[in-house]
Symmetry: C2
Subunit: 429 residues, 2 copies
């Protein structure tokens, strides 16, 4: 069955995935020269950098996502289809999906990344992740359910399990989550749970490298280490998680009793099927400097799923929203250039800096020639993230929420909207 | 196992359910005289009158609910436990729940109402309802998924199924839902789905009585009938739904092809188990004028689940938020009076009027001595509903959303966050 998309007299670009890369690409591509068909399994674009605030009751899920149809409202020769991609047929030049197949002239894979469990299947089974909106919502419910459960036992050993949180990976996501949890502990939970001794709540941040934020500058690491300590977070460097059975996390530094292990320790590319011969070790599609998959002129890859060969290494750029956005925009311009008979331009990453935040008033910023931290960094972090959100309504709602939390020391949204059960519980039920 | 609640030297009031009735009761009850234990299956209070806006992408779910722990923050001798009530043991004076049992001195049943399918089991299986936040969220996803499906077929007959909406019951919920759907059709969907002929979308409102809004004045019925017609809604009065197989709704006036039948045609009380001998025909607990369950001095019922015997009829007051709130407040005062050795006062409903809204700029209001409709009624409806929401943050966020939709003719939240499958699909999967 063919997908129900009109055939017109323009070359067709099929784009898979509407993250930062896909979004920017489609915004740039000129409808006079191409028909664009976008496929995504969701009908919204997700602003991943704020996902941890959904998980910690700070923001509504609806504020950090934006309907795809609305982003591209009025765009000519553009068609969005909500579908799951099954594979690509490179010979027939077709993408196969659960709602039918579609022919392409140019295919752009912008499918992003998924969590890398490094083969630890128990962690995949019992741990929690934050790579999608649904996962973040589940984590929010889990965190709150744990406090309800802690309340209902007088066995201190059992309580410990519910009130210990182990976060694996001290990258930006890990420290942001740890920081927000620490603030829940300080400002919110003692008011919500007067019957619980909240001092029992422990947040453990486990990192395999010898410093937190290993991808940022030494200065940013040192500062954020200090900030995290101040918030009462237990930091375990040079520490590996070996196994986790849903109750006990076994690490190279000892065991932690916990019901909640959040895994933010790594990602790998999430390419579509039938491109296995073009992948590097990180499961990313190896591309030339035009984001063209090697030896595959009609297929492009952008964002986390792509790895531009740098000096023959094939390691690719850092998996960051800013890289993805720039690659998408560049490829859009390159498509337009091709249509006009001009040459494509190679992708060059313009590093405008990286940043991370650790609770209220504290953030670290690495600019190419300057590093700083503290309250100014924090305000810049907030301002930039507000501006990067798609849609004025979202910005306004997020802004209202942030002002509220800041002034009242209170997150508004401590709601268990879905009950989440572990896999083995579900089987029993 | 006993629930983990401290035993103190005060009579214990156990309240089941935190709707309008339970909420008002606990706000009024004096902590110097009673220990209060509140049990609810959710950790939030839901503002039911705005649920239909969640179902139609107008509001975030988080904006119309409020964390219970936050409502009663700082209240002395108050304990909230998130649990499912299984039954009451009237001899032992205990409530049995999934997290243990708890003794009561006074029990207050404030468990509200559930959908009444009048024995039509196929409608229960295939139809959609809006009695809880989760159901409303599911309905939101279903409505949007249908348009995605309609897009993916070129078979006009099949499309019809996805684009026909049948709403059964023309009470406030039914007409509010129909009105909002009609506005989605007029303002939003043509922009979102340029590939679809939105004129194909049909909204059918089916009502067994001989007028819409049968519980309101004749004037309000006539006005809202006119408003609904103007919005292009097909109204079927004196019409009964007989059966529905997930594709075709069979009614006394003929068949409708539809994937989406929303049932808002009736509710019954939702009492707890072991009180069956105290129920009236509507499954509500028959009470005296003090909301005391008949022949059961230590058990009270308030809100939708209670029916105060009026002239021996046992029919009870209308199932309205305003009745529930007033009964809760009165019972709270009565408990305080009892503690001071004073007499309880009988409940007298103070009817401040009823209202319903039908899309932008249109509402009907019945005051005890005056009826009116139109844009002023609509602004009053909005103002009152904003003020009735619990929590300033919620009011602000809802206000922002409403202004946004009003000025831009655009609902912000057309997001399919959960994929909902019908029951039989799930079995296949």
């Amino acid at each position: 069955m063919n997908m129900n998309v009109p055939n017109i007299d323009l070359p067709r670009v099929v784009v898979i995935g509407c993250g930062f890369a896909g979004l920017k690409l489609i915004q740039k591509i000129d409808s006079r020269y191409y028909q664009v068909v976008l496929i995504d399994k969701n009908n919204y674009h997700t602003f991943q950098p704020l996902m941890y605030q959904v998980a910690t009751s700070g923001l509504e899920p609806d504020s950090i996502v934006y309907p795809i149809r609305k982003v591209f409202k009025g765009k000519q020769h553009f068609h969005f289809r909500m579908a799951e991609v099954e594979a690509v047929d490179r010979v027939q030049k077709e993408v196969l999906t659960n709602i039918g197949k579609i022919q392409y002239d140019h295919l752009v894979v912008a499918t992003g990344a998924v969590t890398n469990f490094f083969g630890l299947s128990n962690i995949e089974k019992y741990g929690y992740t934050m790579k999608s909106l649904v996962e973040s919502l589940d984590l929010r419910s889990i965190i709150l359910q744990n406090f309800e459960k802690a309340l209902n036992t007088s066995d201190l050993k059992e309580r410990e399990k519910y009130m210990n949180f182990v976060i694996v990976g001290a990258g930006a996501t890990g420290i942001e989550l740890a920081g927000t949890l620490a603030e829940l502990k300080r400002y919110i939970l003692p008011k919500d749970y007067p019957d619980l001794d909240i001092r029992q709540m422990q947040i453990h941040l486990v990192e395999a490298a010898d410093r937190v934020l290993p991808a940022m500058s030494e200065n940013a690491s040192a500062k954020s280490h200090k900030f995290l300590k101040k918030l009462g977070i237990n930091i375990w460097l040079n520490t590996f998680v070996k196994d986790y059975d849903g109750c006990t996390a076994h690490t190279s530094k000892g065991d932690f009793e916990t019901e909640t292990l959040v895994w933010t320790a790594g990602v790998v590319g999430a390419p579509i099927a039938n491109l296995e011969d073009r992948l590097n070790k990180g499961n990313r599609l190896i591309c030339n400097e035009f984001n063209q998959v090697i030896d595959q002129e009609d297929i492009f890859a952008i964002g986390d799923v792509s790895a531009i060969e740098q000096e023959g290494e094939g390691r690719g750029h850092a998996m960051l929203a800013s890289v993805a956005g720039q690659q998408g925009a560049q490829l859009g311009k390159n498509f337009n250039a091709l249509a006009k008979g001009k040459d494509m331009k190679p992708f060059v990453y313009n590093d405008r800096g990286t940043m991370a935040t650790i609770g209220r008033n504290r953030a670290v910023v690495d600019l190419p020639f300057y590093e700083f931290s503290g309250i100014l960094a924090w305000f810049i972090w907030m301002f930039l993230h507000l501006m990067l959100l798609v849609g004025f309504r979202n910005r306004l709602v997020v802004f209202v929420n942030w002002c509220w939390s800041y002034l009242k020391y209170d997150q508004g949204l401590r709601l268990i909207i879905r009950k989440v059960e572990r896999q083995e519980d579900q089987v029993e039920a």
